[in-house]
């Protein structure tokens, strides 16, 4: 009460225009708003509790195993990607396979390295054939005569 009177007195001195304005709350709410609000809050709190409960249950029964599995996958993936396979050239890989020293190699890597080596061989062969043909043409040698001599 004393606080109210002090505020009012101070206001008269400080702001005479403001102090003349009646201090009434002109804002209003829809009908029965404050009677309904506690029920709205209760239902929201119950829903929040259900969600919290669900999350707790989920976190123990589903989320924990899933996250542990994800961590395991991550560790395994990291170990594989850091293995020695990455540091080897195709030739070294083939040598290792032939010597049967390194047998735990991914199938795909093996096929890939063989395929590359075979391609290289094919390229070499085609180059040799071209050279022979050029030699025969330059020296005007009939290929049929060579076959007959043989």
């Amino acid at each position: 009460m004393e606080n109210k009177k002090t505020i009012s007195d101070n206001l008269k001195n400080e702001a005479p225009f403001l102090s003349k304005i009646e201090k009434i709350n002109h804002f209003s709410t829809p009908n029965n708003y404050f009677e309904v609000l506690p029920e709205v809050i209760s239902s929201k709190n119950v829903n929040t509790n259900k969600l919290q409960f669900l999350f707790d249950k989920l976190s123990y029964k589903v989320l924990v195993p899933i996250s542990m599995f994800a961590v395991l996958l991550f560790i395994v993936f990291n170990m594989n990607s850091n293995s020695i396979e990455e540091g080897l050239t195709n030739e070294q890989l083939c040598e290792l396979i032939l010597e049967e020293v390194y047998i735990e190699i991914d199938d795909y890597l093996v096929y890939e390295s063989y395929a590359e080596l075979i391609e290289e061989d094919e390229i070499d062969t085609s180059t040799d054939t071209e050279e022979y043909i050029n030699y025969l043409l330059e020296n005007d040698i009939d290929i049929n005569s060579i076959i007959e001599e043989l």
Partner: protein
């Protein structure tokens, strides 16, 4: 009848009693319902004066009371319950206004201008011309000054309580209120 029933209990139960009831599993929901009924109106008007629009105030007051429900388990009785609730309500109201600014890419001044325009056509506002001028004058104040002015002028709060709620020194609050009153007085004089 329901209001009378709860009103009767609200008068009998102090905040301390309601808090001890809240700690008991069996009476938790009932106690919180009584806490809401006891404090909802003061909290609502505190928020409404900040956000102006009823629908916005309704959202903010609901968020406030749901957050209070979640945090009440950890409430330490060093502070008064209603001071703590006011603090949550104030933070929620300020957060709401900031979000509103960001959502519509508008400046602080424009939000207050928009709220000021809204007042004239609001069916939940029935003030006459001079009351409208006063509300518009309040809306020209910076956010913190507006908060302080509303709490002191309408809420008739003590500076000590305001200091706890707003985490500001009493001296700073007095200065802030003084500046707010001067600005409002000038606005009314000029209008």
């Amino acid at each position: 009848m329901l209001v009378d029933f709860f009103g009767l209990y609200m008068e009998h139960y102090s905040d301390d009693k309601l808090l001890s009831m809240f700690r008991e599993e069996d009476s938790r929901n009932y106690a919180y319902n009584l806490i809401v009924r006891k404090h909802q109106e003061r909290l609502y008007w505190h928020i409404r004066r900040m956000v102006i629009v009823h629908e916005d105030a309704d959202d903010v007051v609901q968020n406030t009371l749901v957050k209070a429900w979640k945090g009440l388990h950890n409430f330490k009785e060093e502070a008064k319950l209603y001071t703590w609730l006011y603090r949550i309500a104030t933070n929620e109201a300020i957060t709401f206004l900031n979000k509103k600014r960001k959502r519509f890419f508008i400046s602080i001044v424009d939000v207050e201008h928009e709220l000021s325009e809204h007042l004239a056509s609001d069916e939940n506002y029935s003030g006459d011309e001079i009351q409208l001028i006063l509300q518009k004058a309040i809306l020209t104040l910076p956010e913190k000054q507006r908060l302080v002015f509303n709490m002191k002028y309408y809420g008739e709060m003590k500076y000590e309580e305001m200091s706890t709620i707003l985490d500001t020194s009493i001296g700073a609050l007095k200065a802030s209120y003084h500046h707010a009153v001067k600005k409002i007085e000038n606005y009314i004089k000029e209008d």
